[in-house]
Amino acid sequence: AMAGAARRLLRRGLGVAAGPPSTRQLREAEEAAPVFQYAGKAAKRKDRVFVWGFSYSGALGVPSFVKPDEGWKKPRRIQPTPYRLETEEKISSAACGYGFTLLASNTRDITKVWGMGLNKDSQLGFQRSRRDQTKGYEYVLEPSPIPLPLEKPQQTRVLQVSCGRAHSLVLTDSEGVFTMGNNSYGQCGRKVVEDEIYSGSHLIHQLKEFDSRVVQVVCGQDHSLFRTKKGTVYACGWGADGQTGLGHYNITSVPTKLHGDIAGVNIIQVSSYGDCCLAVSDEGDVFGWGNSEYLQLASVTETTQVNVPRHLPFKIGKVKEAACGGTGNIVLTEEGNVFVWGYGILGKGPNLIETAVPEMIPPSLFGWSDFSPDTRVAHVRCGLSQFAALTNRGELFVWGKNLRGCLGTGRMEDQYFPWRVTVPGEVVDVACGVDHMVSMVRSFT
């Protein structure tokens, strides 16, 4: 009787016979499946910060690299590949100094600048220690806000930051330039105080006396350069190599205007990181001054120190951007070609160690090919002995001495020609330091 009832159910169609699903059943199951949405039509690309290089000084801003969470873990001295750094705000400008980093956001909130790394000369301002309220931290392990003495903290925006060996500069849009850190050579733009103790100092100096608004600040090793809207350049700090360009080899403690070959020329970009400086004019000419021991300025003079800006007569086309490193220089022309000169690993293989005349790096090394002829270099940056180039496709190429893994390639060997750094996003800007780098990246989708 049970079997008969089952058979009657089957015949009525209430029980479905098992078997492989037919095409129609598969199609119906597919159409009935739920649709997931991971990104809406108005999904915005996110801005991220990636850091890599020597981490034991805290310059990468990840505390677990220096003091691991678990007792059995070993501290990570070097981060050889890009590592994402979580930041509260969108970072618009970053700068790497000698063992420390500054991050700045152009927000109107009260906290605009964060610093991490070495703070033995208060280059990150005063970071109050939690253990002893009177002393400051000597090593800052995670991005900590730097309190700037702004008059209108909820209106002023920070445009750019720059870091040198032991001092830093912060450029705002309406309140001039703020300097902090070591001032033993007057690089902070204030009078040198004998036997001043820089560690745990609260002093942040403000500079306002320029002929027009300052639009770019650049830190060399122990000197500072300021470029104003009118196209003039001011300098202060150590001058023993002529890097202040003021015609003498003494230190300058007040920002002073530069003359020489750039007098009357509208300068659109200045660059420096070691003891040599380069400036680019709006007409595409390059001017240089400072240390020339490594043939950086040997095209115009045999002397190893140049203390007045000199025009460098290179026939390479109109120059758009220049970057200065410790021993080598790099320029980018309007056509998108990259030229290097100086001493060290310049990017044309191990045979090219030094040259006084700019040599071009073939564009095929930056991803140019018959398949993608529109790929060109958009920006060039320099660390102390490394170079970085950003293409218009958002790719980052690095080369030079791989000091403590600062190239970010994942290997510890020096790189003699441009090599891609794998970053999960489109690289918008990069800041190079002595042994670490910071990049600002936008996600793909």
Partner: protein, 261 residues
């Protein structure tokens, strides 16, 4: 092949007895040319019983396109072509919105997603990154010391490629067509399998925060052999095969010489 006229049978000279003209009895010998019986096709059988055919790089059941075969002595050339490590070009068709377990549109459905946020620009950005990482892999697996001047010179010319075993590497990708939800890519690759290409389509879908399946994989070039040289099913006869072999002979020789030296 067996129907084609074969070689003429060998001839031999035999002395046959023949009756002398005008009268019986006396038997003279006449020289005559006769075919050797051992060469007769009914004795020897068909000339070609087996034919050695070797295949070039594998082609999936679900894929289509150029498939290189070597016949007889051509099999030796196949190993030489394998050692050349030349790139192959595929057109890969994809469909956004679905994810299946075997990455093709005939598999079991795993997930369905929205795809209206995808634009051609986003897709091309992802393709640029894929090319970049594969370019790095190309340099790394080529086993050349990066610190030498010759490595720099080869990198400038773009001639660095792995000359030994390596995982699949994509040398170039390009988006040919983009019409949501479908898209078509042209992929140049080395040491690949078709399933790897389908997996890549799936991963592109994941990167774009959606999902994708591969609808079509078609090989359009394998070394020097392009779709124009290939014989479609209607031309699988002796005449066309012979013509094709003749026309490609020179090309294959120059290609092997150029790469292997």
């Amino acid at each position: 092949l067996n129907a084609a006229p074969g070689r003429a049978p060998r001839q031999q000279v035999r002395f046959l007895p023949a009756s002398a003209p005008g009268g019986g009895g006396a038997v003279g010998l006449v020289a005559a040319r006769l075919p050797v019986l051992a060469d007769h096709p009914l004795v020897r059988g068909p000339r070609f019983k087996k034919l050695k055919i070797g295949a070039g790089h594998r082609l999936d059941v679900k894929a289509s396109g150029v498939f290189v075969l070597g016949i007889g002595h051509g099999n030796k050339l196949l190993t030489d072509r394998y050692n050349c490590h030349l790139t192959r070009v595929y057109t890969v068709g994809g469909l956004f919105g679905k994810a299946t377990d075997d990455f093709s549109d005939t598999g079991n459905l795993v997930e369905k997603t929205t795809f209206d946020h995808i634009t051609r620009e986003k897709l091309e950005r992802i393709l640029a990154v894929i090319q970049g990482t594969n370019q790095k892999a190309l340099l790394m697996y080529s086993n050349i010391d990066m610190k030498t001047q010759e490595a720099y010179e080869l990198a400038v010319k773009g001639l660095i490629r792995p000359m030994g075993k390596s995982p699949p590497i994509i040398t170039a990708v390009r988006c040919l067509q983009f019409a949501l939800p479908e898209f078509q890519l042209e992929i140049h690759c080395l040491h690949e399998t078709q399933q790897y290409l389908r997996k890549m389509v799936h991963e592109i879908g994941l990167e774009l925060k959606s999902s994708a399946v591969c609808t079509q994989v078609r090989r359009i070039r394998d070394g020097v052999f392009t779709v124009d040289d290939a014989l479609p099913r209607t031309q699988w006869n002796l005449q066309s095969i012979q013509e094709a072999i003749q026309s490609c002979q020179l090309k294959v020789e120059t290609e092997l010489e150029k790469t292997l030296g």
